[in-house]
Symmetry: C2
Subunit: 230 residues, 2 copies
Amino acid sequence: MTKQERAARTRQELIRAAAETFAQHGYVQARLADISASAGVSPGALHFHFENKAALAAAVEAEASVALRAVARDVYRGRQIALQALTDATHALAELLRDDVVARSGFQLSCQNTLGTGLSLRQEWQGCVQHLLALAGTEGTLAEGVAEQDMATAIVGATIGFEVLGRDNPEWLSQRTVTRFWRVMQPRLAAPQVLERLNPAGARPLAGVAPYGPNRPSRGGADLEGRARS
Amino acid sequence: MTKQERAARTRQELIRAAAETFAQHGYVQARLADISASAGVSPGALHFHFENKAALAAAVEAEASVALRAVARDVYRGRQIALQALTDATHALAELLRDDVVARSGFQLSCQNTLGTGLSLRQEWQGCVQHLLALAGTEGTLAEGVAEQDMATAIVGATIGFEVLGRDNPEWLSQRTVTRFWRVMQPRLAAPQVLERLNPAGARPLAGVAPYGPNRPSRGGADLEGRARS
Protein backbone atom coordinates (compact mmCIF):
# COMPACT_ATOMS: atom_id res chain seq x y z
CA MET A 1 0.00 0.00 0.00
CA THR A 2 1.43 3.39 -0.99
CA LYS A 3 1.55 6.32 1.39
CA GLN A 4 -1.31 7.93 -0.53
CA GLU A 5 -3.45 4.82 -0.23
CA ARG A 6 -2.78 4.64 3.50
CA ALA A 7 -3.76 8.31 3.91
CA ALA A 8 -7.01 7.78 1.98
CA ARG A 9 -7.81 4.73 4.08
CA THR A 10 -7.14 6.62 7.33
CA ARG A 11 -9.38 9.45 6.18
CA GLN A 12 -12.25 7.04 5.44
CA GLU A 13 -11.72 5.31 8.77
CA LEU A 14 -11.94 8.69 10.55
CA ILE A 15 -15.18 9.57 8.74
CA ARG A 16 -16.73 6.24 9.73
CA ALA A 17 -15.56 6.64 13.36
CA ALA A 18 -16.91 10.21 13.47
CA ALA A 19 -20.27 9.07 12.07
CA GLU A 20 -20.53 6.33 14.70
CA THR A 21 -19.61 8.73 17.50
CA PHE A 22 -22.04 11.44 16.27
CA ALA A 23 -24.85 8.88 15.92
CA GLN A 24 -24.21 7.54 19.40
CA HIS A 25 -23.50 10.68 21.44
CA GLY A 26 -24.74 13.53 19.25
CA TYR A 27 -22.54 16.07 17.53
CA VAL A 28 -22.11 18.40 20.51
CA GLN A 29 -21.01 15.73 22.96
CA ALA A 30 -18.83 13.77 20.54
CA ARG A 31 -15.14 14.00 21.55
CA LEU A 32 -12.31 14.11 19.03
CA ALA A 33 -10.24 11.87 21.32
CA ASP A 34 -12.94 9.16 21.11
CA ILE A 35 -13.12 9.49 17.33
CA SER A 36 -9.37 9.09 16.81
CA ALA A 37 -9.28 6.18 19.27
CA SER A 38 -12.20 4.47 17.49
CA ALA A 39 -10.44 4.95 14.15
CA GLY A 40 -7.25 3.51 15.63
CA VAL A 41 -5.13 6.58 14.86
CA SER A 42 -3.36 9.22 16.95
CA PRO A 43 -4.97 12.63 17.68
CA GLY A 44 -2.22 14.11 15.52
CA ALA A 45 -3.27 11.96 12.56
CA LEU A 46 -6.86 13.13 13.01
CA HIS A 47 -5.75 16.77 12.93
CA PHE A 48 -3.66 16.11 9.84
CA HIS A 49 -6.85 15.15 7.98
CA PHE A 50 -9.47 17.33 9.70
CA GLU A 51 -9.05 20.75 11.24
CA ASN A 52 -11.83 20.33 13.79
CA LYS A 53 -15.09 18.56 14.61
CA ALA A 54 -17.09 20.73 12.19
CA ALA A 55 -14.80 19.61 9.34
CA LEU A 56 -15.43 15.97 10.29
CA ALA A 57 -19.19 16.57 10.35
CA ALA A 58 -19.04 18.24 6.94
CA ALA A 59 -17.15 15.20 5.60
CA VAL A 60 -19.80 12.85 7.03
CA GLU A 61 -22.55 14.89 5.37
CA ALA A 62 -20.65 14.96 2.07
CA GLU A 63 -20.24 11.15 2.11
CA ALA A 64 -23.92 10.72 2.93
CA SER A 65 -24.79 12.99 0.03
CA VAL A 66 -22.68 10.89 -2.35
CA ALA A 67 -24.48 7.74 -1.16
CA LEU A 68 -27.89 9.39 -1.57
CA ARG A 69 -27.02 10.49 -5.11
CA ALA A 70 -25.92 6.96 -5.97
CA VAL A 71 -29.37 5.73 -4.88
CA ALA A 72 -31.08 8.36 -7.03
CA ARG A 73 -28.82 7.72 -10.03
CA ASP A 74 -29.44 3.99 -9.99
CA VAL A 75 -33.21 4.32 -9.91
CA TYR A 76 -33.22 6.94 -12.68
CA ARG A 77 -31.04 4.63 -14.76
CA GLY A 78 -33.60 1.84 -14.44
CA ARG A 79 -35.98 3.29 -17.05
CA GLN A 80 -38.83 1.41 -15.44
CA ILE A 81 -42.23 2.89 -14.58
CA ALA A 82 -41.40 6.08 -12.64
CA LEU A 83 -43.66 5.20 -9.70
CA GLN A 84 -41.80 1.89 -9.32
CA ALA A 85 -38.51 3.80 -9.46
CA LEU A 86 -39.84 6.04 -6.67
CA THR A 87 -40.91 3.01 -4.63
CA ASP A 88 -37.48 1.47 -5.16
CA ALA A 89 -35.76 4.72 -4.21
CA THR A 90 -37.56 4.83 -0.84
CA HIS A 91 -36.60 1.20 -0.21
CA ALA A 92 -33.00 1.97 -1.15
CA LEU A 93 -32.95 5.06 1.10
CA ALA A 94 -34.31 3.04 4.03
CA GLU A 95 -31.73 0.32 3.44
CA LEU A 96 -28.96 2.91 3.22
CA LEU A 97 -30.04 4.51 6.51
CA ARG A 98 -30.39 1.09 8.15
CA ASP A 99 -27.04 -0.29 7.08
CA ASP A 100 -24.71 2.68 6.62
CA VAL A 101 -23.82 4.64 9.74
CA VAL A 102 -22.29 7.45 7.67
CA ALA A 103 -25.57 8.02 5.80
CA ARG A 104 -27.56 7.75 9.04
CA SER A 105 -25.30 10.18 10.85
CA GLY A 106 -25.30 12.56 7.87
CA PHE A 107 -29.11 12.81 7.97
CA GLN A 108 -29.07 13.06 11.75
CA LEU A 109 -26.66 16.00 11.68
CA SER A 110 -29.31 17.88 9.72
CA CYS A 111 -31.71 17.34 12.66
CA GLN A 112 -29.50 19.37 14.98
CA ASN A 113 -29.45 23.10 14.58
CA THR A 114 -25.86 23.38 15.82
CA LEU A 115 -24.52 23.13 12.26
CA GLY A 116 -25.45 25.45 9.46
CA THR A 117 -25.14 22.84 6.71
CA GLY A 118 -28.02 20.63 7.76
CA LEU A 119 -30.92 20.97 5.43
CA SER A 120 -29.35 19.96 2.17
CA LEU A 121 -29.64 16.17 2.45
CA ARG A 122 -33.36 16.34 3.07
CA GLN A 123 -33.77 18.86 0.28
CA GLU A 124 -31.86 16.58 -2.08
CA TRP A 125 -34.21 13.75 -1.18
CA GLN A 126 -37.23 16.00 -1.69
CA GLY A 127 -35.86 16.95 -5.11
CA CYS A 128 -35.49 13.28 -6.01
CA VAL A 129 -39.12 12.55 -5.05
CA GLN A 130 -40.42 15.55 -7.00
CA HIS A 131 -38.37 14.65 -10.05
CA LEU A 132 -39.66 11.06 -10.16
CA LEU A 133 -43.26 12.24 -9.71
CA ALA A 134 -42.80 14.71 -12.58
CA LEU A 135 -41.44 11.84 -14.72
CA ALA A 136 -44.48 9.76 -13.79
CA GLY A 137 -46.72 12.65 -14.78
CA THR A 138 -44.98 12.93 -18.14
CA GLU A 139 -45.23 9.21 -18.87
CA GLY A 140 -48.95 9.33 -17.97
CA THR A 141 -48.84 6.73 -15.21
CA LEU A 142 -50.25 8.87 -12.38
CA ALA A 143 -53.84 8.59 -11.20
CA GLU A 144 -56.10 11.42 -12.29
CA GLY A 145 -57.41 13.86 -9.73
CA VAL A 146 -54.43 13.83 -7.35
CA ALA A 147 -52.05 16.81 -7.43
CA GLU A 148 -48.36 15.93 -7.73
CA GLN A 149 -47.58 18.35 -4.91
CA ASP A 150 -50.01 16.53 -2.61
CA MET A 151 -48.31 13.23 -3.47
CA ALA A 152 -44.85 14.73 -2.80
CA THR A 153 -46.00 16.08 0.57
CA ALA A 154 -47.16 12.64 1.71
CA ILE A 155 -44.09 10.79 0.39
CA VAL A 156 -41.45 13.22 1.66
CA GLY A 157 -43.21 13.54 5.04
CA ALA A 158 -43.45 9.78 5.55
CA THR A 159 -39.92 8.93 4.42
CA ILE A 160 -38.36 11.64 6.62
CA GLY A 161 -40.57 10.35 9.44
CA PHE A 162 -39.22 6.81 8.90
CA GLU A 163 -35.67 8.20 8.96
CA VAL A 164 -36.20 9.88 12.33
CA LEU A 165 -38.26 7.11 13.92
CA GLY A 166 -35.73 4.54 12.68
CA ARG A 167 -33.01 5.99 14.90
CA ASP A 168 -34.70 4.57 17.97
CA ASN A 169 -36.37 1.59 16.31
CA PRO A 170 -34.83 0.18 13.10
CA GLU A 171 -38.12 -1.54 12.26
CA TRP A 172 -39.25 1.84 10.86
CA LEU A 173 -36.53 1.46 8.20
CA SER A 174 -37.30 -2.18 7.42
CA GLN A 175 -38.48 -3.41 4.04
CA ARG A 176 -41.71 -4.39 5.79
CA THR A 177 -42.47 -0.82 6.89
CA VAL A 178 -41.67 0.73 3.52
CA THR A 179 -43.79 -1.96 1.82
CA ARG A 180 -46.71 -1.13 4.13
CA PHE A 181 -46.45 2.51 3.11
CA TRP A 182 -46.50 1.71 -0.61
CA ARG A 183 -49.40 -0.75 -0.22
CA VAL A 184 -51.38 2.29 0.92
CA MET A 185 -49.96 4.73 -1.61
CA GLN A 186 -49.55 2.91 -4.94
CA PRO A 187 -53.28 2.27 -5.52
CA ARG A 188 -53.98 5.96 -4.84
CA LEU A 189 -51.12 7.35 -6.93
CA ALA A 190 -50.96 5.04 -9.96
CA ALA A 191 -53.16 5.11 -13.03
CA PRO A 192 -55.30 1.94 -12.92
CA GLN A 193 -53.67 0.43 -16.02
CA VAL A 194 -50.16 0.37 -14.48
CA LEU A 195 -51.08 -0.66 -10.95
CA GLU A 196 -50.72 -4.39 -11.52
CA ARG A 197 -47.19 -3.86 -12.82
CA LEU A 198 -46.10 -2.13 -9.60
CA ASN A 199 -44.59 -3.89 -6.60
CA PRO A 200 -44.87 -2.13 -3.20
CA ALA A 201 -42.06 -4.31 -1.83
CA GLY A 202 -39.64 -2.84 -4.37
CA ALA A 203 -38.35 -4.29 -7.59
CA ARG A 204 -35.31 -5.86 -5.96
CA PRO A 205 -35.55 -9.64 -5.59
CA LEU A 206 -35.28 -10.94 -2.03
CA ALA A 207 -34.64 -14.52 -0.97
CA GLY A 208 -37.89 -16.26 -0.08
CA VAL A 209 -40.09 -13.54 -1.55
CA ALA A 210 -41.62 -13.61 -5.04
CA PRO A 211 -41.24 -9.95 -5.95
CA TYR A 212 -42.75 -9.85 -9.44
CA GLY A 213 -46.19 -10.28 -10.79
CA PRO A 214 -46.43 -12.14 -14.12
CA ASN A 215 -46.38 -8.91 -16.18
CA ARG A 216 -43.37 -7.41 -14.51
CA PRO A 217 -40.21 -6.77 -16.58
CA SER A 218 -37.08 -7.95 -14.80
CA ARG A 219 -34.76 -5.05 -15.57
CA GLY A 220 -36.00 -2.93 -12.63
CA GLY A 221 -34.64 -5.39 -10.10
CA ALA A 222 -31.28 -5.62 -11.78
CA ASP A 223 -30.70 -1.88 -11.39
CA LEU A 224 -30.95 -1.72 -7.63
CA GLU A 225 -28.97 -4.95 -7.51
CA GLY A 226 -26.35 -3.08 -9.48
CA ARG A 227 -26.29 -0.35 -6.89
CA ALA A 228 -25.65 -2.87 -4.13
CA ARG A 229 -22.77 -4.46 -6.03
CA SER A 230 -20.99 -1.22 -6.92
CA MET B 1 -51.22 37.52 43.82
CA THR B 2 -50.34 35.11 46.64
CA LYS B 3 -46.86 33.70 47.14
CA GLN B 4 -48.08 30.36 45.79
CA GLU B 5 -49.48 31.96 42.64
CA ARG B 6 -46.23 33.80 42.09
CA ALA B 7 -44.25 30.58 42.47
CA ALA B 8 -46.50 28.76 39.99
CA ARG B 9 -46.16 31.59 37.51
CA THR B 10 -42.37 31.63 37.86
CA ARG B 11 -42.25 27.86 37.30
CA GLN B 12 -44.31 28.20 34.09
CA GLU B 13 -42.14 31.06 32.92
CA LEU B 14 -39.01 28.93 33.47
CA ILE B 15 -40.49 26.03 31.50
CA ARG B 16 -41.34 28.34 28.59
CA ALA B 17 -37.87 29.94 28.70
CA ALA B 18 -36.22 26.50 28.81
CA ALA B 19 -38.30 25.30 25.84
CA GLU B 20 -37.29 28.35 23.81
CA THR B 21 -33.62 27.92 24.69
CA PHE B 22 -33.65 24.15 23.94
CA ALA B 23 -35.44 24.76 20.62
CA GLN B 24 -32.93 27.44 19.63
CA HIS B 25 -29.61 26.03 20.85
CA GLY B 26 -30.32 22.34 21.47
CA TYR B 27 -30.43 20.69 24.87
CA VAL B 28 -26.69 20.15 25.24
CA GLN B 29 -25.68 23.72 24.48
CA ALA B 30 -28.51 25.39 26.40
CA ARG B 31 -27.17 27.30 29.43
CA LEU B 32 -29.06 27.60 32.69
CA ALA B 33 -27.91 31.22 32.98
CA ASP B 34 -29.62 32.04 29.67
CA ILE B 35 -32.79 30.27 30.75
CA SER B 36 -33.09 32.15 34.04
CA ALA B 37 -32.30 35.46 32.30
CA SER B 38 -34.93 34.77 29.63
CA ALA B 39 -37.47 33.96 32.34
CA GLY B 40 -36.53 37.17 34.16
CA VAL B 41 -35.56 35.40 37.40
CA SER B 42 -32.32 34.90 39.32
CA PRO B 43 -30.25 31.70 38.98
CA GLY B 44 -31.20 30.97 42.59
CA ALA B 45 -34.89 31.09 41.73
CA LEU B 46 -34.29 28.65 38.87
CA HIS B 47 -32.56 26.23 41.23
CA PHE B 48 -35.39 26.58 43.75
CA HIS B 49 -37.76 25.16 41.11
CA PHE B 50 -35.49 22.83 39.11
CA GLU B 51 -32.49 20.87 40.34
CA ASN B 52 -30.72 20.86 36.97
CA LYS B 53 -31.14 21.07 33.20
CA ALA B 54 -32.46 17.51 32.98
CA ALA B 55 -35.25 18.39 35.41
CA LEU B 56 -36.18 21.36 33.20
CA ALA B 57 -36.21 19.16 30.11
CA ALA B 58 -38.40 16.61 31.89
CA ALA B 59 -40.82 19.43 32.80
CA VAL B 60 -40.92 20.61 29.16
CA GLU B 61 -41.68 17.07 27.98
CA ALA B 62 -44.37 16.66 30.66
CA GLU B 63 -46.08 19.91 29.57
CA ALA B 64 -45.91 18.84 25.93
CA SER B 65 -47.47 15.52 26.87
CA VAL B 66 -50.34 17.30 28.63
CA ALA B 67 -50.95 19.43 25.53
CA LEU B 68 -50.86 16.36 23.27
CA ARG B 69 -53.38 14.57 25.49
CA ALA B 70 -55.68 17.59 25.36
CA VAL B 71 -55.59 17.36 21.56
CA ALA B 72 -56.43 13.66 21.69
CA ARG B 73 -59.17 14.10 24.29
CA ASP B 74 -60.90 16.83 22.31
CA VAL B 75 -61.03 14.83 19.10
CA TYR B 76 -62.28 11.70 20.91
CA ARG B 77 -64.98 13.82 22.53
CA GLY B 78 -66.24 14.96 19.14
CA ARG B 79 -68.08 11.69 18.37
CA GLN B 80 -67.81 12.43 14.70
CA ILE B 81 -66.64 9.96 12.04
CA ALA B 82 -63.38 8.53 13.41
CA LEU B 83 -61.42 9.28 10.23
CA GLN B 84 -62.45 12.94 10.49
CA ALA B 85 -61.37 12.90 14.15
CA LEU B 86 -58.01 11.52 13.01
CA THR B 87 -57.73 14.21 10.32
CA ASP B 88 -58.61 16.86 12.91
CA ALA B 89 -56.09 15.42 15.38
CA THR B 90 -53.24 15.76 12.85
CA HIS B 91 -54.29 19.35 12.13
CA ALA B 92 -54.43 20.06 15.86
CA LEU B 93 -51.00 18.47 16.41
CA ALA B 94 -49.49 20.54 13.59
CA GLU B 95 -51.04 23.70 15.00
CA LEU B 96 -49.76 22.85 18.48
CA LEU B 97 -46.21 22.29 17.17
CA ARG B 98 -46.40 25.47 15.09
CA ASP B 99 -47.68 27.76 17.83
CA ASP B 100 -46.50 26.29 21.14
CA VAL B 101 -42.75 26.31 21.74
CA VAL B 102 -43.12 24.00 24.75
CA ALA B 103 -44.79 21.31 22.63
CA ARG B 104 -42.27 21.81 19.83
CA SER B 105 -39.33 21.58 22.21
CA GLY B 106 -40.83 18.56 23.97
CA PHE B 107 -40.99 16.65 20.68
CA GLN B 108 -37.54 17.89 19.70
CA LEU B 109 -36.00 16.63 22.94
CA SER B 110 -37.07 13.16 21.88
CA CYS B 111 -34.94 13.58 18.71
CA GLN B 112 -31.76 13.84 20.76
CA ASN B 113 -30.38 10.74 22.33
CA THR B 114 -28.83 12.65 25.23
CA LEU B 115 -31.95 12.13 27.36
CA GLY B 116 -33.41 8.77 28.24
CA THR B 117 -37.01 9.96 28.29
CA GLY B 118 -37.40 10.84 24.64
CA LEU B 119 -39.55 8.31 22.90
CA SER B 120 -42.73 8.65 24.89
CA LEU B 121 -44.31 11.65 23.10
CA ARG B 122 -44.02 10.00 19.71
CA GLN B 123 -45.32 6.74 21.14
CA GLU B 124 -48.29 8.58 22.65
CA TRP B 125 -49.06 10.07 19.26
CA GLN B 126 -48.73 6.67 17.60
CA GLY B 127 -51.16 5.26 20.17
CA CYS B 128 -53.63 8.05 19.36
CA VAL B 129 -53.46 7.27 15.62
CA GLN B 130 -53.89 3.54 16.19
CA HIS B 131 -56.80 4.07 18.56
CA LEU B 132 -58.69 6.30 16.09
CA LEU B 133 -58.09 3.83 13.24
CA ALA B 134 -59.42 1.02 15.42
CA LEU B 135 -62.51 3.13 16.16
CA ALA B 136 -62.95 3.73 12.42
CA GLY B 137 -62.67 -0.01 11.84
CA THR B 138 -65.32 -0.69 14.48
CA GLU B 139 -67.74 1.88 13.05
CA GLY B 140 -67.26 0.38 9.58
CA THR B 141 -66.02 3.54 7.87
CA LEU B 142 -62.65 2.24 6.61
CA ALA B 143 -62.07 1.23 3.01
CA GLU B 144 -61.92 -2.50 2.42
CA GLY B 145 -58.66 -4.11 1.44
CA VAL B 146 -56.30 -1.79 3.34
CA ALA B 147 -54.77 -3.10 6.57
CA GLU B 148 -55.10 -0.79 9.58
CA GLN B 149 -51.41 -1.28 10.35
CA ASP B 150 -50.48 -0.11 6.85
CA MET B 151 -52.61 3.01 7.35
CA ALA B 152 -51.01 3.68 10.75
CA THR B 153 -47.51 3.33 9.25
CA ALA B 154 -48.24 5.96 6.61
CA ILE B 155 -49.97 8.39 9.00
CA VAL B 156 -47.47 8.16 11.86
CA GLY B 157 -44.53 8.34 9.44
CA ALA B 158 -45.86 11.43 7.66
CA THR B 159 -46.91 13.34 10.78
CA ILE B 160 -43.58 12.74 12.51
CA GLY B 161 -41.90 13.80 9.26
CA PHE B 162 -43.91 17.05 9.27
CA GLU B 163 -42.87 17.62 12.91
CA VAL B 164 -39.17 17.31 12.07
CA LEU B 165 -39.28 19.16 8.73
CA GLY B 166 -41.33 21.92 10.38
CA ARG B 167 -38.44 22.87 12.64
CA ASP B 168 -36.57 24.37 9.70
CA ASN B 169 -39.57 25.34 7.63
CA PRO B 170 -42.91 26.00 9.40
CA GLU B 171 -44.76 25.50 6.09
CA TRP B 172 -44.53 21.75 6.81
CA LEU B 173 -46.78 22.33 9.83
CA SER B 174 -49.24 24.57 8.01
CA GLN B 175 -52.90 23.74 7.49
CA ARG B 176 -52.12 23.66 3.77
CA THR B 177 -49.55 20.87 4.13
CA VAL B 178 -51.71 18.75 6.41
CA THR B 179 -54.66 19.26 4.04
CA ARG B 180 -52.51 18.08 1.10
CA PHE B 181 -51.67 14.93 3.01
CA TRP B 182 -55.32 14.14 3.74
CA ARG B 183 -56.41 14.89 0.16
CA VAL B 184 -54.17 11.98 -0.76
CA MET B 185 -55.11 9.73 2.15
CA GLN B 186 -58.84 10.13 2.79
CA PRO B 187 -60.00 8.68 -0.56
CA ARG B 188 -57.75 5.66 0.03
CA LEU B 189 -58.66 5.08 3.67
CA ALA B 190 -62.38 5.86 3.84
CA ALA B 191 -65.25 3.62 2.83
CA PRO B 192 -66.85 5.20 -0.28
CA GLN B 193 -70.14 6.00 1.49
CA VAL B 194 -68.48 8.28 4.09
CA LEU B 195 -65.94 9.98 1.85
CA GLU B 196 -68.15 12.93 0.92
CA ARG B 197 -68.72 13.66 4.61
CA LEU B 198 -64.98 14.02 5.26
CA ASN B 199 -63.03 17.26 5.04
CA PRO B 200 -59.26 16.99 4.47
CA ALA B 201 -58.81 20.57 5.73
CA GLY B 202 -60.12 19.57 9.16
CA ALA B 203 -63.52 20.15 10.69
CA ARG B 204 -62.58 23.46 12.22
CA PRO B 205 -64.07 26.46 10.41
CA LEU B 206 -61.59 28.97 9.05
CA ALA B 207 -62.33 32.50 7.92
CA GLY B 208 -62.71 32.64 4.15
CA VAL B 209 -62.91 28.86 3.72
CA ALA B 210 -66.10 26.85 3.41
CA PRO B 211 -65.15 23.84 5.48
CA TYR B 212 -68.26 21.68 5.25
CA GLY B 213 -69.96 19.87 2.49
CA PRO B 214 -73.79 20.05 2.55
CA ASN B 215 -74.09 16.77 4.49
CA ARG B 216 -71.62 17.63 7.19
CA PRO B 217 -72.80 17.85 10.81
CA SER B 218 -71.54 20.97 12.53
CA ARG B 219 -70.56 19.52 15.92
CA GLY B 220 -67.12 18.36 14.74
CA GLY B 221 -65.96 21.91 14.24
CA ALA B 222 -67.18 23.04 17.62
CA ASP B 223 -64.97 20.52 19.40
CA LEU B 224 -61.67 21.72 18.13
CA GLU B 225 -62.95 25.27 18.57
CA GLY B 226 -63.57 24.30 22.17
CA ARG B 227 -59.99 23.12 22.50
CA ALA B 228 -58.69 26.41 21.17
CA ARG B 229 -60.75 28.41 23.64
CA SER B 230 -59.82 26.39 26.72
